[in-house]
Amino acid sequence: MIDKNQNRRDFIKNLALTGSVAALAASPWLSVLADNSITKGPNEQIQIAVIGTGDRGKQLIRHLFEIPGKPNFKLLAICDNFQLHLDNTLELLKEHNCSPKTYTNHLQLLENEKLDAVIIATPLHQHAQIAINCMQSGIHVFCEKAMARNLEDIKRMYDTHIQQNRILQIGHQRLFNPVYLEGMQRIHNGDLGTIGQIRAYWHRNNNWRRSLPNNDKSLERKINWRLYKEYSAGLLTELLSHQIQVAIWALQKTPISVMGTGSIRFWKDGREVNDNIALIYSFEDGTQFVYDSMTSNKKYGLEEQIMGHKGTIEFEVNRQYSETPPAAPGIQQLINNVEHGLFDNLPIGGSSWVPETASKYKGEPIVKTNDLGDTTLELEAFLKFVRAGSAPEKITKEGYNASIWTILGEQAINTGEQLHMPSEFIL
């Protein structure tokens, strides 16, 4: 059996080697990921802690242990202010023979442990303070998306990263997904032509609630923090933030305005965040990013559709469609012959032709793998960055711009106005 990790690695390496200057400038972390020579102090163990060991925190820990080649790190400590989650995580870690110290307060963690890096997967409203404290203690940070609950906190996080010269990587895993990396190269090489619109949506049909441990009602806001405005902007910070990041990455520019609307249409269960939103982000060159998300119909699922005058990419289904289909094989041969000055017979009609087959054009896969592993790759990259002592600045900016425009989207919905980026937040 071919090692899937090896496949993925070869794939990334190949992308980094074959990418054009423009394509590599748009995704500079690709070269870092492909570079196996980042071995500065390979024997030194990277000391890591995970802060926030809920659903995502546990997933990230799982992915850490799945990184191929077993990078030299130690999960020194885990931190969560909810004992049940700490206990569950310790249980999970047994299979890796790992028994980290536990903390219930990140400040105590920072005081007591000598760490190189932390992974933050707390609810959104906690990201900023924890990340800033960590960076100020000289620790590199991987923080889940979105960056923070408001514009000011997002900026404070970014500024601290610059002042302290610490890595700040935000958990937009699509940045490391082979389908996106390959697709973005094609977009940046101009394969889709002039992009006029990006449409994206994320539709689910569930109440987005988590059950409360022991049905303890006092835990409602802690467990279901996504549904309350104090902690989350709901569908915007949880879902749109991934997709606006894809749009900004594809277009290589940030929007100039956003307008939007939203409502609680279906889940009138005491939640504060909308269950139904629609937004339009506009770009200077006239490109529009048209977005919607809802949680009472799942027929269309999720997608980002990049639409250029020569073609379309649908990332989530790994497909590219050409506006003009490529020449049929026999015709391609004819074209090649003419180019080479040849006058040959053309075997055009043939057995490949089956009468009346209803073949709808279904596009082509962007990459021929369904083994994506983007979260593992983003963590593998983070460890590489930590070992190298720095990450491409662009990766932090991706997180920053996506997060700023996510929160501006929320404000546009709240105010009903078309909003622009306040100048103090422009990097």
Binding site: T324, P325, P326, A327, A328, G330, I331, L334, I335, V338, E339, H340, G341, L342, F343, D344, N345, L346, P347, I348, G349, G350, S351, S352, W353, V354, P355, E356, T357, A358, S359, K360, Y361
Partner: protein
């Protein structure tokens, strides 16, 4: 001597009628080529909108939903194609019959073939000249332009090529329907052959070629051509290539010769103007 490799060749492809149409042209202005392509796109969309059996928005789809005896007014185009189809049914001695859509559908679903005898266009469809309308005379009649559609499209495209004065063009519609004008850049004709029958070669100028096959996918599958008189699927391992000045003629004749038994071929062929007609197996 001019440099052979310096020829500027234009190519465009379209998805249409569940297939792909490729056009290659040279010795013309890029702007003219682009305009022709825009018009071809419109022509293809219009034809699909008129005679596609599968397109839910098409006029034919609407007509096929109607019940027996209902008077169905028709557009000028659909009327024209139906009259044409009726005439083709006559001159092919009934072996090309667009009113067998339902029988073909049944066969595709795997139903017994002997129950699928077609009653024939004249027994199932009435065309009323007075008000340009149609009535179905028998239940379960479905019209299917599958054996003509590409030909109709190529005939219209041929008119466009003339209008724009494109003189050197090669068009392949799903590899089975070919339309050519003028010559290959490096020769005095467009060379053409079939992958399965490399010895069969054609030298095409202002021509059209249609290839029909009764060979089934995996040799057991569901061919679409039936003999309307017996309802039988034409399983014979046969390929028919017809070269003609008229793409619809080529299309219809190649289909009819698959459907008809051998002893009828001469009589059918007599009704058509064609340049070459070859049965390969």
């Amino acid at each position: 001597m001019n440099d052979k490799t310096k020829v500027e060749l234009f190519h465009h492809a379209f998805h249409a009628m569940n297939s792909q149409l490729d056009i290659v042209a040279w010795n013309c202005l890029k702007s003219d080529f682009d305009l022709v392509c825009q018009d071809i796109d419109l022509v293809l969309k219009h034809i699909e909108h008129t005679i596609s059996r599968f397109n839910l928005d098409s006029e034919l789809f609407f007509v096929n939903q109607k019940s027996t005896c209902e008077i169905i007014p028709l557009s000028a185009d659909l009327w024209k194609y139906l009259k044409q189809a009726k005439e083709y049914q006559r001159i092919t001695l009934g072996y090309f019959d667009i009113s067998c859509g339902n029988q073909i559908e049944e066969i595709k679903k795997g139903k017994e073939s002997n129950k699928n005898i077609c009653f024939g266009f004249n027994e199932t469809v009435q065309l009323n000249n007075a008000d340009r309308s149609l009535q179905f005379l028998k239940k379960n009649t479905t019209l299917d332009f599958g054996g003509m559609g590409k030909g109709i499209a190529l005939a219209k495209i041929n008119d466009l090529l003339q209008e724009y004065e494109l003189k050197n063009v090669f068009i392949s519609f799903g590899n089975s329907s070919i339309l050519t004008k003028g010559t290959h850049p490096h020769g005095s004709y467009w060379p053409f052959s079939l992958a399965d029958f490399p010895k069969f070669k054609l030298k095409l100028n202002d021509d059209s070629v249609s290839i029909s096959q009764s060979i089934t996918k995996n040799k057991q599958g569901k061919t679409h051509i039936i003999n309307p008189k017996t309802g039988e699927v034409c399983f014979r391992n046969k390929t028919v290539a017809v070269r003609s000045k008229n793409p619809v003629d080529a299309e219809v004749l190649s289909t009819a010769l698959i459907a008809a038994p051998k002893d009828k071929h001469a009589a059918i062929k007599k009704q058509f103007n064609f340049i070459e007609c070859k049965i390969l197996s």
